[in-house]
Symmetry: C2
Subunit: 377 residues, 2 copies
């Protein structure tokens, strides 16, 4: 893959995740990558531009792991589109598969895709390979998030890229310490991840999709279900610096209201916001504590849990800022859910020359980001 001059496509997106333009990659790619997690299967593939002089682009799409057949059918379609006697395609196509599902569903892939070669790649390896590529080679990929500035882009790093921490939030959460391009360690994790939030909200609110749950949470007031310091003290607990508005116990008002026979009065919106805060705050805290133990200052948050959702990113940012007293930084990515599949895609040419051509890419114009457009980056 020639990533010289790579940039994120800022036109109105045709997909949930914006394409990455690769103007200098004119050859077909012989690989299609898929990262099959506990809940979602993420696919990355390359397509050439109609006008060949414009190179091609990386495309991103995902499927529910429960419906893995849909994912396989999609890959079949991609394969079929390339096959009809096209003489340019010399190399045989390879499916680069990673994530737990690359083991679990290997036999099904083999059976359904016929003579296509399937190569499994280690999940953590792929996460780091993908993340390093996005950080170093894609401008306007990495950003910080705050109330006042929801998408503040970071400069692409030149020499001080490492060490950093990756907190990958999928169904569960993995925490990795990364000290160089190929040196990393899984230092921690937690089972309280996206799967927990989606699972609890499925049961509690009857919502059936991630987007519905996130949308519902927007209109919620968590203080109707969360017990605040003020609910216990009637005021701040000043001596130890706990504000009246601090959440003392997530969902802590429910049992009390139950005693008063007020159950049934809880709004789905309030429950959704409370649990979104709960999971995000907790991941943020575990991230902070691990960063403290390992002396890391930069924390990248990846994984499909985030989905470019402002409240989620703000909560993670706030947690890191709060606990670290501003000494650590929460960093986000516009392709946060595709670290593993981008990594698997790149693994096909491990020997490819890295092109950290910062001078070439720094001349791109910064995209104009509004709060509205964040949802569809």
């Amino acid at each position: 893959m020639n990533s010289t001059g790579a940039e994120i496509c800022e036109e109105l997106p045709h997909a949930e995740t914006r394409d990455i333009l690769l103007p200098n990659q004119v050859d077909y790619a012989s690989q299609i990558a898929v990262d099959i997690g506990g809940t979602l299967a993420k696919v990355v593939y390359f397509s050439r531009e109609p006008n060949l002089s414009k190179g091609g682009r990386l495309n991103f799409t995902k499927f529910e792991t429960e419906k893995i057949d849909e994912c396989i059918d999609f890959i079949k379609t991609l394969l079929a589109a390339r096959r009809p006697g096209n003489q340019e395609i010399q190399e045989k196509v390879v499916i680069k598969a990673t994530g737990g599902g690359s083991y679990k569903f290997y036999d099904i892939f083999v059976e359904k895709l016929g003579d296509v070669k399937i190569e499994k790649e280690d999940e953590m390896d792929c996460l780091i390979t993908g993340l390093n590529f996005l950080i170093a080679e894609i401008p306007y990929e990495v950003f910080t998030c705050s109330d006042s500035d929801p998408m503040h882009f970071e400069d692409t790093p030149s020499s001080n890229m490492f060490p950093y921490m990756l907190v990958n939030i999928g169904s569960g959460v993995s925490v990795l310490k990364v000290t160089s391009h190929d040196k990393y360690e899984r230092i921690s994790g937690t089972s309280l991840g996206g799967g927990t939030l989606w699972g609890l909200l499925t049961l509690l609110t009857g919502a059936t999709s991630f987007d519905e749950m996130l949308e519902t949470s927007k209109y919620g007031d968590n203080t109707n279900v969360d017990m605040l310091v003020g609910d216990i003290y009637g005021s701040d607990y000043g001596k130890i610096g706990l504000k009246s508005s601090t959440i003392a116990s997530s969902m802590g008002k429910v049992f009390k209201k139950n005693i008063r026979q007020e159950v049934g009065k809880f709004r789905n919106e309030d429950i959704s916001k409370s649990l979104l805060y709960m999971i995000s705050n907790n991941v943020g805290q575990i991230a902070y504590l691990n960063a403290q133990v390992h002396g890391l200052k930069k924390i990248y948050f990846g994984g499909c849990f985030i989905r470019g959702h402002l409240t989620t990113m703000n909560t993670l940012s706030y947690a890191i800022h709060f606990w670290s007293k501003g000494t650590m930084k929460a960093l986000f990515l516009r392709h946060e859910g595709y670290l593993g599949s981008v990594g698997a895609f790149l693994k096909h040419n491990e020997t490819r020359q890295r092109t950290y051509s910062f001078s070439e890419i720094s001349s791109f114009t910064q995209p104009i980001i509004t709060e509205e457009s964040i949802k569809s980056f």
Copy 2:
């Protein structure tokens, strides 16, 4: 309070929490202590034995904070029982109140108890005062918990009592670092505590009491709702040491089963066990990480969340053992819910002489603990 010769009453308990016998305390105590948390108000008071030569005992009882009137009525009964012209009672009775509710309900206490003096004490101060007393002066109070040995008593410490960490799990969780009898710091906390578990289970299972929830969880199989590493990989993820049986995502199977329209098939028992594991594991992990940051090896778990429940203690113990690779120790207390109220009780005589009479108390026989009797310690 003369705690020389103090011991836990091992007779069949008349209350949920066993009394502490104080054979050398023959005078009436002039104080009654109450620790009013977000969910529960815990009361400690002294009563003399019918046979005065046997001294007296500390009694422990609790009320739901939502029903604070019941708590006040109980204190009134205690006061009334002491008043009828008893010439021995010289000192005026004092209510030592701590916890957030001592601020929030102060006016109600004043109004309802009339001319009784009410003194507020800081919550964290009381926790530590109470814990230090229990650790140092009450034999067979502190124990470790494992599958094979659910109640293994610790020796009362002589000189190496500090430093330690206290993780107090009430509605929310406070984490304190304690370096001497009167030196401590609240270093962390989490909003995922008892209130979260009780609140979620109230909504999800319709259970109405803590005991019902804990009882239900006993018969559950969390793997019906939790997503395990094996569910994602089909096997272990050996490279990074994750076993197939490790929980990858708490409640992570629910959303998937929802896609397969299998919602409604989730058993209350399974959900209860999953969430009990989720909260306990998470508290254990946050405790471990904080202990690591602060170089602490001994971790005491207190608070009404634990309730002497074997699965809860085993999960906390397992989490500490797992994360610390056996280098840290989870310690439990038979009066775990009353640290704050014991502390408030003792605050009345801050100048009392501490009596670390280890030689005197070490001659007591170790109580015989069976799995059955743990519930009622």
